[in-house]
Symmetry: C2
Subunit: 356 residues, 2 copies
Amino acid sequence: MPRLLLDKDKCLRNIEKMARKASRNSLSFRPHCKTHQSAEIASWLRDFDISSLTVSSFLMARYFARAGWEDILVAFPFQPGELDHLVELSEHCKLSILVDSPAALPFLNHIPKQVDFYVDIDTGYGRTGVRAENPELIEQIISKAAANSKLKFRGFYCHAGHSYKASGQKQRNAIHQKALYDLGGLKKQFEHHNAKVLYGDTPSCSTQKEFGTIDELTPGNFFFYDLIQYSHGACNMKDIAVAMECPVAGRYPTGERILIHGGAIHFSKESLLLNGDSIFGQLVQGTDRGWTHTSQEKYLTSISQEHGVMEQCGDLIREVNIGDKLLFLPVHSCLTANLMREYYSLDGIPIATLNS
Amino acid sequence: MPRLLLDKDKCLRNIEKMARKASRNSLSFRPHCKTHQSAEIASWLRDFDISSLTVSSFLMARYFARAGWEDILVAFPFQPGELDHLVELSEHCKLSILVDSPAALPFLNHIPKQVDFYVDIDTGYGRTGVRAENPELIEQIISKAAANSKLKFRGFYCHAGHSYKASGQKQRNAIHQKALYDLGGLKKQFEHHNAKVLYGDTPSCSTQKEFGTIDELTPGNFFFYDLIQYSHGACNMKDIAVAMECPVAGRYPTGERILIHGGAIHFSKESLLLNGDSIFGQLVQGTDRGWTHTSQEKYLTSISQEHGVMEQCGDLIREVNIGDKLLFLPVHSCLTANLMREYYSLDGIPIATLNS
C-alpha cells in the first residue's frame, strides 16, 4: 500500500521559520491546519507559543477543539447549515468565523455564546469576500451585526489566492502590494472598530518581507510545502516535508515505463504543467533517513484511480524491481494528505489525522 | 456539509442494463466495484445473479470478502507487498489476480491455497500489461507459473483504457476492434490452456454491440456514470446516478458568482474541458425525488480545497440564497465517491462504503 511519509524535522523547520518570520515582523501567527488536519502536528506548534489556529471547516474546528485548542478561526464564509456546530463549538472555545454578506447575519441572531467574526476581503482573487473597493458593504455588515450583542466584529481576513495564478515573482509582488494597500486602507477606515487584519497564503508569507499593517499571518501549506509551492518559489526542494512511498508494481522496458501502486485516490488528480506536460509527482531518492532531491529529474506522468505511471524512465528501469518502493514529492500536499488520512514518521510511527 | 446523493433507481437501471447486455451476448459479468466501494451497492448485484466481483486493491478485496463475496478478482498487477493479504484472502474466497511479468511469480512460490491468475494484456493503452504483440512473454509467464501447482492460469484480462482518450466514437470503435482482434488471437493461440478473456472499460461496454470472443465483462463506472462518461457517449444525463448536494455559502453579484461548500476534497480535482474551459461539476435541478438535467447549463468553474465556485451564473444568482442546497453531477464519480466515503439515498439513508 502507498504511504505518506512525513519528515518531522523538515516540518518543524518550516514551522520555526514561519513563526520566526511572524515574530520578526511583530505579527501574530495563526497557522491554517487544513493541510495536515492532524492534532499531533498541531501540538508541535505549542513549542512556538502558538495558541490559535485557522481551519477551513467546522468539522476541522471540532476536531482541533477536542484536541484542546481554544482559539479557532473557521476561514470559510459562514453557512446557516453549520449553526448547530457553531453553537456547540462556541461553548468550548473562542470561535471566530468569516462573514462576507449581510445575508449570513440573521442566522446568527440567537447564538448563546460570543462568536467573533472577520469580514472576508477580496483583493482580486475572486473566490470569496467583499471586494476591497466596496467599503459600503463592509459598513452594512458591521452595522447589521452590531444589533447582535453576541457577535463581535474583529477585523478583516484576506486570502490572496491569486498569488497561485501569478506568472512570476514580479506579478506575485504586485498582488501582495495591492493586498497590503487595500487592507491598510480598510484598517484605517475602520480603525474606530479596532479592526485587525489577518492575511496569508503560503507563497506570499514565504516570499514577502514586508507586511504593512497586517496583524496576523494565517498560511497553511507551509507545514509540508509541495511541488506547486516550489514552482512558485515559496520553498526549496529540501523544505518539502512529505513524500509518497509507493511500491513498484510493473516494469515495461518498451517505453521505459514503471508502474507504481499510487494513483488519484492517493496523490489526488492535481497536476503541474512542466514543459507542456502534466506531472503528478516527482521522484526523490530515499536515504538512510528520509529522502533527497536528485538532479536526474523523473516524474509521475499519468495517474488513474490506483495506478501511477512514470514514462521515459531511462536507466531507472534497469535499477528498479517489482516490490521496490519509490518516493515521490506530491504536487499538492493538502489534497494528498487529505486522501492518505494517516502519515508515517521516518521511524514508521503512524501519525493520526481528522480522517484516520 | 456536502453530501453525495445516490439515486438507487438509476443505479439499479444501470446495473440491469449492463447485466442484460452481458446476458444477451452470452457473456459472464464480473462488475468492477472500485467506483462505489460499497457492500450495500454490491449486494444489489445478487438480484441479477451476479456472484463474482472485480476490485482494484487487496483492501477492497478484503472488504468485499468480509461482506460475503466468494469470487473476487484483484485487477491490479500483483505486488509482493500484498502477499500477506493474498494468503489471508485465498483462505476465504476464490481469489484471482493479474500478472504481467514473470518477475512477479517467485513471490507466489509458497502460497498455501489455490490462486487463479490472468495475464494482463495491453492492446494499446500503455498503462499495464503484456503487449498483445508479445505472446512469447505470455508463454514465459504461463510456463514459469506452471511450476507452481497452487497458481492456475485462467486467461487474459484487458482494460482498454485508451478508449477514454479517444476523440470520438469512430476512434473508440477502432480501439475496441483492435482489442477484440488482439484478444481473439491470444485466445486462439492459448486455447490449449482453455484461456478465458475478461474485458471491459465502461465506454466500450456501454457503447459497443459486438464482443467477439470475450467471455466476461468487467466494467465499473457504469454503476454511477458521470460527466466524463457522458462526454464519451457512454451514458445519457439521466443515467448519472449520483449528485453532490452542496450548500450555497456565498453570492457575489459582481461576476455573477456563487460559492458553494464543495471543493477538491469532495469532488476531486478531476476536470473536463468544455469549450476550452475546465469544469468540475454540472448543476442539475432538484426535484421531488432526485434531480433532473436542465437545459440551462451551469458549471462549477473552479474549485479549491473546500470551495467550489460557479461563475457567470446569470439569473441563477437572483434565485439562490445562502444556505440553499445545489446539486451537481460529478466529473468523475469514482474519485468523488472515494472522497465522500458515505452516500445518501434519496430518502436520506446513509449508504456505507469501505471508507466509511
